[in-house]
């Protein structure tokens, strides 16, 4: 597959790693891309480490095997980095995006990853904009800022449509999420 981007999401059960993968995948389809988005199925418990994946390309993706060498790894919970090897399979030119209050130097020091690191305090952004520290939507914003996978506005429009269906009676949730995505995107772009 030419120009295929593979993304691995790490999170803990309840943080929305699977939702992040599906939201991004669906938005990419609506932006004219071919995608696959799928979670890793194992024991599903609140707080347990979980993973989800995206494949995004300009042509049909026929591979139906797990992602083993992602171009981007997004970590929704930095405490996972002590428990599992989040950079497994990530090539030297890959990108590691971490939700953390620490700065880049601190993350680089604590973990042996020598490639590109993007840090974002997605939980803080989510708390401030949505009112809950659920980091998945701002993490997508950070990922779009770091990768140029698709235009921010296209993702915002698509997510808005989707959230409008789900949160008809809670416009503040919709506004909060869109704000969180934009804010994280801008912070990474800075």
């Amino acid at each position: 597959m030419k120009n295929m981007v593979e993304i691995r999401w790490h999170g803990r059960g309840g943080q929305g790693a699977k939702t992040a993968a599906l939201l991004l995948g669906e938005a990419a389809v609506n932006a004219g891309k071919y995608v696959q988005a799928f979670p890793e199925y194992g024991p599903e418990r609140m707080g347990a480490p979980v993973a989800a994946y995206d494949r995004i390309a300009d042509e049909e993706i026929t591979i139906h095997s797990p992602v083993i060498a992602p171009n981007v790894v997004a970590v929704l919970d930095e405490t996972l980095m002590d428990a599992i090897d989040v950079t497994k399979g990530l090539p030297a030119n890959g990108t590691l995006i971490v939700n953390t209050p620490f700065d880049k130097a601190e993350v680089e020091k604590r973990f042996s990853w020598k490639g590109k690191v993007v840090v974002i305090d997605a939980s803080k952004i989510a708390q401030a904009t949505i009112g809950k520290p659920i980091p998945n939507t701002p993490m997508i914003g950070a990922l779009l800022g770091a990768t140029n996978l698709m235009p921010l506005q296209a993702f915002l429009d698509d997510t808005k449509k989707k959230l409008e269906k789900k949160f008809k009676t809670k416009p503040e949730v919709i506004e909060g999420n869109l704000k969180a995505i934009s804010q994280a995107y801008e912070e990474v772009k800075k």
Partner: protein, 392 residues
């Protein structure tokens, strides 16, 4: 025709096809990883998007029994299941087929206990290969959607009148979201047409008995009639696959050939692994190994003559089986292919691998290795090998 491009999982794609088909009756019982199909469909029922009479039952045995009853009453009938659910239907599957009831079922391929396992392999579908049902495999969500629509036509065609199951690979396809092109409701409705049942047990003008005893006098003739209907199904699958292509833009046949025209080595498999094989073939051809793929779509009836003809030119064949036949000789797919080649008078080196049982991952590298193996050893071996087995 205006197609709508959406992002859907395999289960969502199958539920969407069911919404457009709008069957008269659905009887189902939930089981992972097929549960979502009926869960989504039941919301269509609740929201009034379909006119279906949804019957929730206490087991798959009852689900298929209810399907038999409703189909015998002349209703267009569908269901969905997987794994233990499918094999729990075993007894009634044969009855549905012998009563010539064109029930269409979505089956999400999953391993059979034991040990208990929820992940993909083809053991469930293969266990029902001799039940008299038409069996159609899908590589991805798009094919699952397209196959569901075609299955209605195939099953209901007068000279066929047999039940059909359409399968996807559990989790890999059922829970993986992909780009899907859907067709307008009106076009699907037009394509499948009105259902004119072969008989109707509720027709008081023409009372009949359904499911009566047939002993030494006519049981044999009954089975021969089913055999002939299966032969007719072959023709129906081609006709309807062609017509589907004309209307919706993608033609379907017994199997798909990928880069086989100049291939020295051809791999035969079913389902989602075919897609991974295509990617492996691209890479191997860069290395100079001329290889190709035959992806079997229709497993019942089995396209023996056509497969033998398609495999005639190559130097060696690899068959990947995602289930065990426990005959110690070959997996279910390889057994059929060997028989097909024997009948065609073709002797070819063949490597047969059992792979992916219980959801064991299959990677591009695994597939490249089996091609490399046969390119080095075209003698073939009668011994069935296991692919991706952990070293003891």
């Amino acid at each position: 025709m205006e197609k709508t491009i959406v992002a859907r999982t395999g289960n969502e794609a199958m539920a969407e096809a069911m919404r457009q088909i709008n069957p008269d009756v659905c009887a189902a019982y939930p089981i992972t990883p097929a549960t979502e199909i009926m869960q989504i469909f039941s919301s269509f029922v609740n929201d009034g998007l379909v006119n279906t009479n949804l019957i929730t039952v206490e087991s798959e045995h009852s689900a298929m029994s209810a399907c038999v009853g409703s189909a015998a009453a002349g209703a267009r009938t569908m269901t969905a299941t997987s794994s233990q659910g499918l094999i729990y239907m075993h007894e009634i599957l044969f009855i549905a087929a012998s009563l010539r009831l064109p029930i269409v079922m979505a089956d999400v391929n999953r391993a059979i206990s034991g040990p208990i396992n929820i992940h993909c392999d083809h053991s469930d579908t293969m266990a029902e290969r001799d039940s008299g049902w038409i069996q159609i495999f899908s590589e991805n969500s798009q094919e699952a959607y397209d196959n569901m629509i075609q299955a209605i036509r195939i099953a209901e065609r007068k000279d066929v009148s047999l039940p059909a199951m359409v399968t996807t690979d559990g989790f890999i396809i059922s829970h993986g979201m992909e780009r899907l092109e859907t067709y307008p409701d009106a076009e699907v409705k037009k394509f499948i047409g009105e259902y004119n049942p072969p008989y109707n047990v509720l027709n008081l003008e023409k009372p009949i008995t359904v499911g009566s005893i047939v002993l030494t006098d006519y049981y044999l003739e009954h089975k021969k009639a089913q055999h002939e209907a299966m032969k007719n199904a072959k023709k129906a699958i081609l006709d309807i696959g062609k017509e589907f292509g004309k209307v919706f833009g993608k033609e379907y046949g017994f199997f798909e050939e990928y880069k086989t025209s100049d291939a020295d080595y051809v791999l035969v498999c079913l389902g989602s692994t075919a897609g991974t094989t295509k990617a492996a073939i691209e890479e191997l051809r860069q290395e100079g190994i001329k290889c190709g793929l035959i992806k079997i779509r229709m497993f019942r009836p089995f396209p023996a003559e056509e497969l033998a003809a398609a495999l005639k030119k190559c130097k060696g064949i690899v068959v990947l089986d995602r289930s065990e036949a426990m005959n110690t000789q070959a997996g279910p797919v390889a057994t059929e292919i060997k028989a097909a080649l024997y009948d065609a008078g073709i002797a070819k080196p063949m490597h047969n691998y059992i792979y992916g049982l219980g959801g064991r991952e299959i990677y591009i590298e695994d597939i490249k290795n089996v091609f490399r193996n046969i390119s080095k050893d075209t003698k073939g071996s009668n011994e069935v090998k296991y692919l991706g087995l952990k070293e003891a």
